[in-house]
Amino acid sequence: MNPPRASRFALILFAAGAGVLLCSVGNALSRATVEPAMAVYLLGLLVIGLPIFLRLLGESAGAGERLALVCLLGVALYLVKVVHDAPSFTFSDELVHAFNVEQIRVHDHLFHQNPILEVTPFYPGLEGATSALVKITGISSFTAGVVLVGVARLALIGSLFLLFERLGGSARTAGLAAAIYTTNFNFLFWGAQFAYESLALPLLIVVLLILSEREVSPRETLRQWAAPLVIAIAAIVVTHHLTSYALLVVLVLLAAVLWYFARDFSAPNPWPFALLAAVLVAFWLAVVAGETVSYLSNPLSEAAEALANTISGESAPRSLFQGSSDAGPTPIGARIVALLGVALLAVGWLLGLRPTWRRHREKPLALLFMLASLGFFFALALRLAPAAWETGNRASEFFFIGLAFVVAGAGLDRFGWPSRRLAPLLLTVAFGVVLVGGAISGWPWDAQLAKPLRVSAGSGTISSPPLALAEWAREEVPGGRFAAPTADANLLLVPGEKTAMAGSNPNIEDVLTEPRLEPWQLQLLRENDLRYVVADRREVSSDGLRGYFFPLSGATSFDRLLPAGAVTKFESVPGAARIYSDGSISVYDMEGKR
């Protein structure tokens, strides 16, 4: 009698758990400022991804197991982000959105002002949803946000698999495509953060799933898809501006392509839903979120200008892997892996385009995906233009849906080089390169791992300088509006529970960094009713990704200081009081003598 053997799925689940644990250990080593944190973390990513991809490549798994495998992959990779951040949010946008949740918690209503990203309260889908968990259970906005985005990730990856399966007609190809999607630059961190796109994008994919199901449904049953479609469209409109515009474009294109094929606007042509989306988007923009226009027009016009300048040679192209200038360069090996990952995707795309066209050219959604896959490489080119790289980076998450579909259609399941036996292993290694390369391309090298925010010392726990400031402000400064560098301001929002302004509009940035006090600076503070000024000599304090943590001995990014005058200039303001000092951070009460 043979000894009992564990099933492959059980072993893969174990590997995924072990991979998450390895990633957590990597982050823990990084928080403890001990090496070799990065190697352990990258190993963890591979331990999660490779067994799942290998199993998806094989023939024997059924459709249900493939769905379970991609869900496992999506959830495990999401946990990598969770173990990076716990026990609090540390991404700039997350703190901004968490502040909106706290505002709802305190006031019981939506649409309260956000001092840093003014447009966010006007898209309350994410925060409204999170407030349900926070209000009913009493949990923190961090826990509620992590759970909500986790469920949204599950919906995303599951819906993506079903969408690809419906469109491609193969569970095997669908599993591979969904797995390839998880290698997109933003899957690991940006797309998993507590921010409005993290809820809106899964809903967009659900809309695509519904459209694909609807297209193959009998005519008399089409009406039953209408309500889920309307609900999902409306939810996207109130959750995220860019995703709602992407949705509108998709619906209009689909309606146009379907009309082109059938010369008929009758169902299943989705034009009524395109119209509905257009009306809802216009209504929301005109009545609720008018500020979106200025919020989006500036970066988009800057991106267009930067692209034009780079193409015409007026400005030099942006170097790739350019993170913070202080953080040190991305190691050459990591750059090679990232570039190799993109090259492999390009090869997969080239190989996949023709068979995908041959097999699916009569399916409007598949055509759209092929177009989107081309868009991915255009978005990649945007990374070379200095002010456009962020636009390109964000767009790639949408375009990657198409790219994953096309690459998976390249016949990965039939790949037989150098032999039928070795081919799956080779493809799995390639997947590992693309997975790790995507992680490297999507997030700065020095920010891949957690940094010390709270540190165990003796019998207690100590907080980093900006966190200690935020905790002090929460306890000791009732009310109060602060002018602060970005990182300090974000923590003053949450957990500081204060109103804090930062950045260049209004120009708080210059108020806090210029070594001399000018009359306009005081006027700006008065006009914005900013009684408290956080003067932080750490240059890194203006960095919304790196400025939250303990200074590390020997780390250049934390050593750099602003001129002393940037802090001491406030001492010359009559009646100003220095009410807090920790060596690098001082807080001035500009109305101390009242």
């Binding site: 709802i104 949204a152 659900v206 003796g458």
Partner: protein
């Protein structure tokens, strides 16, 4: 009613879970109870109301149930905002009502029971070994999360000390609260001096703080400030090993507008 057993279960669960999540004072338990109501039941009920003749296949049904529940969460906050606000009760009632309403529509429009045209959903059998291996994976992920929540010592992190001052105006008179927060990595000794302008010798205090510990000194102004003439006060912190070199300094006026 056997054809509507699923909806009966969903409706009953929605009411019970809403009540239980509101009533249970333990946060994580409340979250566990709320999760199905927030992330599954409204979506399931809405899909059931839409697909009265033949529900989508189980995978599609599951995906739609979760996604539509998320959409309901996002959308429901809008009407609640204008109907008294987003309170625990309004959220629980809102989610329950959406679920019950959709269940009601589904029941009303479902055709009479028909012979099953598909095999009932069967869960795969899981042997002990498989269950143990899978459980080990889940435990590893849980350990990963626990580790992420655990503060660790960091040899290269640099500690610091914060000094702060807040004026107050109480029944016994006006003064200041001066706090010393040690975020140093080892026990640290300090000497704190608080000096009111116009008074004689400063108030002096010696402190020994453990990492993470804060000490607050409450000092009344002497002499008390007169109305309209705030009194300047400064606090200076010295490290025990460097008695002549000021380590931190803060200053304020008493009384200020706020009271402590």
């Amino acid at each position: 009613m056997s054809e509507n057993r699923d909806l009966t279960v969903v409706a009953g669960a929605a009411v019970a879970l809403a009540a239980a999540a509101l009533a249970v004072p333990v946060e994580w338990l409340s979250l566990l109870l709320l999760a199905p109501l927030a992330f599954l039941l409204p979506g399931y009920a809405i899909v059931a109301a839409c697909f009265t003749r033949k529900p989508p296949a189980p995978p599609q049904l599951a995906a739609l149930s979760i996604a539509i529940s998320l959409a309901v969460l996002a959308l429901l906050s809008l009407p609640l905002n204008y109907l008294g606000g987003l309170t625990p009760l309004s959220w629980a009632l809102g989610l329950t009502l959406v679920t019950l309403l959709a269940c009601g529509i589904a029941v009303a429009f479902r055709p009479p029971p028909q012979p099953r045209d598909s095999a009932p959903l069967r869960l795969p059998k899981v042997g002990r070994l498989n269950a143990a291996v899978a459980l080990a994976g889940v435990l590893a992920a849980a350990a990963a999360i626990v580790l992420a929540f655990t503060p660790l010592s960091a040899s290269h992190a640099e500690g610091f000390t914060a000094l702060w001052i807040r004026p107050f105006d109480g029944p016994a008179g006006a003064g200041v609260r001066v706090g010393v927060g040690s975020e140093e990595k080892q026990p640290t000794s300090y000497r704190l001096e608080v000096h009111f302008a116009g008074s004689g010798a400063p108030i002096e205090r010696r402190l020994e703080l453990e990492p993470g510990q804060t000490s607050v000194l409450r000092a009344l102004a002497a002499p008390q400030p007169t109305p309209g003439t705030p009194r300047f006060v400064s606090a200076t912190l010295y490290l025990a090993g460097q008695p002549s070199r000021a380590y931190r300094n803060v200053y304020a006026w008493v009384p200020a507008e706020e009271s402590g």
